[in-house]
């Protein structure tokens, strides 16, 4: 049981680090994209509000939820290995 807990702890720590890094990176990418769109379309008005609105939309988007694959893929791989090795 101790080995299992150790593996879970290791996965939680490592995957959380990766999750944090990927979600920060992805949000910054979206911010850069919004800035670019503001510039390319020559929009006028409150630039800060435009970017905030775009980021708010991103926070509720499916794309942001895709970052959860960082957790789902390794756990799924482990479940698949357990099934293939022991039950088939």
């Amino acid at each position: 049981m101790f080995a299992f807990l150790r593996l879970v702890l290791l996965l939680v720590v490592v995957l959380t680090l990766i999750y944090g890094a990927v979600s920060l990176y992805s949000r910054e990418q979206r911010r850069a994209k919004l800035k670019r769109r503001w510039k390319d379309k020559g929009l006028t008005g409150d630039r800060q509000a435009f970017i905030q609105r775009g980021l708010n939309q991103y926070d509720h988007s499916f794309r942001r939820r895709l970052v959860l694959l960082v957790y789902i893929l390794p756990m799924g791989a482990i479940a698949l290995i357990i099934y293939v090795i022991n039950f088939s």
Binding site: F2, A3, R6, I81
Partner: protein, 213 residues
């Protein structure tokens, strides 16, 4: 210096290759002839070639280990150990050791009436180190030539190569764009410092020269 660099590089890369060779799965097509159990000493450095034991037996220095004896088509003997990997490294998550032992016993066949099976395993058989590959699963196959294609290794090694290449290219680019200009600046600074030092020294010498005359 060049020798040290080469020895270092060769050591690192061969250790990495050995690690992959030990850990990645491989198939053997064999005929199982027998199985046995033997008590093994675990308190030597060679314990790295055995699985990490369960909690209750972690303090024990000896343990019974199951073995599977087999012959391949060219008549070479092969002995596998049969141990759980559990939640430990390498990540095979094998828990069905007792079931596998049963399957192995069921697959025992004679030389005259051979029944070929493919044994998925990892690890090395070394007679000097007394190390045995760990059998992971046993599947019946049509004959000695019917070796399953190792899809996992093909996919894994391709992905690993792609990932290494991606990191290497980015590192090269980072070094060219960020680090090299930085070092050039430092070098320029050093040269300027050296020049000014030489300049002041020659002035000092001229001043001494003016003394002499």
């Amino acid at each position: 210096m060049a020798y040290i660099k080469w020895i270092f590089l060769i050591t690192v890369w061969s250790s990495f290759a050995a690690f992959l060779y030990y850990t990645l799965p491989q198939y053997d097509v064999v005929r199982i002839v027998s199985t046995y159990e033997e008590r093994q000493e675990l308190d030597t450095w060679k314990s790295i070639f055995w699985s990490t034991p369960d909690n209750q037996s972690q303090a024990a220095v000896t343990r019974d280990v199951q073995f599977i004896q087999a012959f391949n088509a060219s008549g070479d003997a092969m002995v596998y150990r049969n141990e759980d990997t559990g939640w430990h490294w390498p990540p095979y998550f094998k828990f069905d050791t007792a079931n596998l032992y049963t399957e192995a016993n069921d697959a025992i066949s004679t030389k005259n009436n051979p029944e070929w099976v493919s044994v998925l395993h990892y690890g090395w058989r070394s007679i000097f180190l007394s190390s045995f590959p760990n059998a992971i699963s046993i599947t019946p196959v049509a004959g000695p030539e019917d070796k399953p294609l190792n899809w996992f290794n093909i996919v894994f090694l391709t992905l690993l190569a792609a990932l290494s290449w991606a990191i290497y290219v980015r590192w090269r680019r980072f070094r060219r764009d960020r680090l090299d200009p930085l070092f050039e600046n430092v070098e320029d600074g050093l040269y300027t410092a050296g020049d000014s030092l030489a300049d002041s020294r020659s002035r000092l010498r001229r001043w001494f020269g003016s003394w002499r005359s």
